[in-house]
């Protein structure tokens, strides 16, 4: 259930984001989903790719530092109250959500979630009947 996300620190300068996506595309590393958090001077690009190890390696060769961060991919059925339910489970497990962003998976929505304490949250979500994607499933998604 643990998904390896690549976190890339990038300065806010023209073309930098393009460089990152360029390197990945050139090496056939598919971007499954991404989110960009930024300030006026720099940003953090968070990406889920088809092959995290290879992704990190090719970025490093291009002089771009990427770190692995463990996240989970949670399915959110298209019904009211579902997201609220998930948030409560996380909170009851004693964890906080640090950030989340959408993973597009067809009819149902899913979210990539970074919590403070991943393993207990996975257990709690499982117990409460929430479905999560495995890493293999996530890396294979084609947008």
């Amino acid at each position: 259930m643990l998904i390896k996300q690549l976190s890339v620190f990038i300065e806010n300068r023209e073309g930098r984001l393009l460089e990152v996506t360029d390197v990945l595309a050139k090496h056939d590393v598919n971007i499954v989903t991404l989110s960009l958090a930024d300030t006026s001077e720099y940003g953090i690009l968070r990406i889920i790719v088809s092959d995290p190890e290879k992704g990190r390696e090719v970025l490093k060769e291009a002089g771009i530092s990427a770190k692995f961060t463990e996240v989970i991919a949670v399915q959110v059925p298209n019904k009211s109250g579902e997201l609220q339910h998930i948030l409560k489970v996380v909170s009851d497990a004693g964890s906080n959500i640090e950030y989340m962003y959408v993973l597009s998976t067809g009819i149902n929505s899913s979210v990539i979630v970074k919590v403070t304490d991943t393993l207990p949250v996975i257990e709690a979500l499982k117990k409460s009947g929430v479905t999560m994607y495995t890493a293999e499933e996530v890396y294979r998604f084609q947008a």
């Binding site: 300065e11 300030t39 720099y42 953090i44 002089g63 530092s65 770190k67 961060t69």
Partner: protein, 432 residues
């Protein structure tokens, strides 16, 4: 091991006696052979006979880099050109280059001084020494090269650049010592780490010089490479590398006072300062044949102490360099040395000691931006952490410098690495 115990461990009395005899001889020789100094002494009403011993050194006129430039190329040489066996020159970024010359005996003395420094750094005949200073007009490469040959080491003259090859030969040859600038060693450290070669090399020491560095940077390099790093000091006008060096106790740079007499002066009043006080370092050469200089102003800021070092050497020791009087930036009226920034960053951790100071003047107010590289090991997954880091650096720098700076985190390994002297400052102020 001490290369030349007779000289390096003389008593203070013996040193002064030797210096007095050499100074008197040298003043006579210079007066008769160098028109520039003869005229200067005549203007001051000073005769060679007025210099009776080392205590009279303060009567001599100062020499500056401009004097060398004004007498470009060979005007200050004290021997006929036929006696010169080598010249070196400094890059003339501002105006003309300064040219320095050596007789055969000067080269021998130089090799002796470098051999003393290398021996202090534990280098001997069983060592393999990679010289990664530039060869050519710059004194670093050939200076270190001759000294390393003198101690009988196996010398690998790689010069600068081509880091991949440097690493390959370092591994293949089993290099034990490297001579290079501290900023290049830092660069090489990162390259070795990236290539996963740190455990594969046999390096045990580094002899670094040609630019100022801090104890923090030394410790950082020592820790990451598992080596001991030594300091070698010199300047081409006086000799090149080998004017001074530090021993395993790292108590300061031991100056070879049998060849160079150091003084510390107040750069404003030009008066000597009390022992232990920081001021501008001034050197008088007392054995150089080709280019003897009186009281050459180095612009380097340091202090001197004369007590004996635990290693047994008795010669004067220079403390860590505080910067150069001409590296000093005056920002909003406050004196700022780039080395202070480096020291503060190393103390902090989480960032690399690579930095760039950008000084500007906006609406008549000086601004200082400090660009700092996020450490490759720093976990930058959250904006909040990056912001905390930036705040921490800002606070630390403000305390260290006494002025507020705008801290800008930049991507790891994006600030220019230099294989020679590192460029740390961009001053965009348009001063009238």
């Amino acid at each position: 091991m001490i290369w030349n115990e007779t000289k390096e461990c003389m008593s203070r009395d013996e040193i002064q006696t030797l210096q007095s005899a050499r100074l008197v001889k040298m003043v006579n020789r210079v007066y008769h052979n160098v028109e520039f100094y003869r005229k200067k002494m005549q203007q001051m009403g000073l005769e060679p006979g007025d210099i009776q011993g080392i205590e009279d050194i303060t009567k001599l006129p100062y020499t500056t880099k401009d004097d060398l430039r004004d007498n470009y190329p060979f005007g200050l040489f004290a021997v006929p050109e036929s006696e010169i066996v080598r010249v070196h020159a400094s890059s003339g970024t501002t105006g003309k280059a300064t040219v320095v010359g050596y007789t055969r005996r000067d080269i021998e003395m130089w090799s002796e001084c470098v051999a003393r420094v290398l021996t202090m750094g534990g280098v001997g005949r069983n060592d393999k020494v990679q010289i990664s200073y530039g060869y050519g007009l710059f004194t670093g490469g050939l200076g270190a090269h001759y000294g390393a040959e003198n101690v009988g080491a196996m010398v690998i003259p790689l010069s600068t650049g081509n880091t991949k090859k440097q690493i390959t030969l370092m591994e293949d040859f089993g290099v034990t010592t490297i001579c290079c600038t501290p900023s290049y060693l830092m660069y090489l450290t990162e390259a070795l780490e990236d290539a996963g070669k740190v455990d594969k090399i046999k390096l045990k020491s580094a002899i670094c010089g040609a630019e100022p560095w801090t104890d923090g940077m030394r410790n950082e390099i020592e820790r990451r490479l598992g080596i001991t790093a030594y300091d070698i000091y010199g300047l081409s006008e006086i000799l090149g590398p080998g004017v001074a060096g530090d021993c395993e106790h790292h108590t300061g740079l031991h100056v070879y006072e049998d060849h160079f007499v150091p003084e510390i002066i107040d750069p404003k009043t030009l008066q000597p300062v009390k022992e232990g006080t920081v001021g501008e370092l001034v050197f008088t050469t007392i054995t150089k044949e080709a280019l003897p200089l009186f009281r050459y102003r180095t612009k380097d800021l340091t202090s001197i102490s004369y007590d004996k070092c635990p290693c047994g050497r008795t010669m004067a020791r220079l403390s860590r360099f505080q910067g150069r009087s001409d590296d000093m930036l005056i920002i909003r009226g406050v004196n700022v040395f780039p080395s202070q920034v480096e020291a503060a960053l190393l103390e902090l951790g989480g960032v690399t000691p690579n930095y760039l100071l950008v000084v500007d003047r906006i609406n008549n107010l000086d601004t200082l931006e400090v660009q700092v590289e996020a450490d490759d090991n720093f976990n930058f997954d959250e904006i909040r952490e990056l912001e905390n880091m930036t705040k921490k650096i800002t606070r630390t720098l403000e305390q260290a410098l006494g002025i507020a700076a705008h801290v800008k985190l930049v991507e790891p390994k994006t600030l220019a690495r230099s294989e020679g002297k590192a460029k740390r400052v961009i001053d965009n102020r348009k001063l009238l």
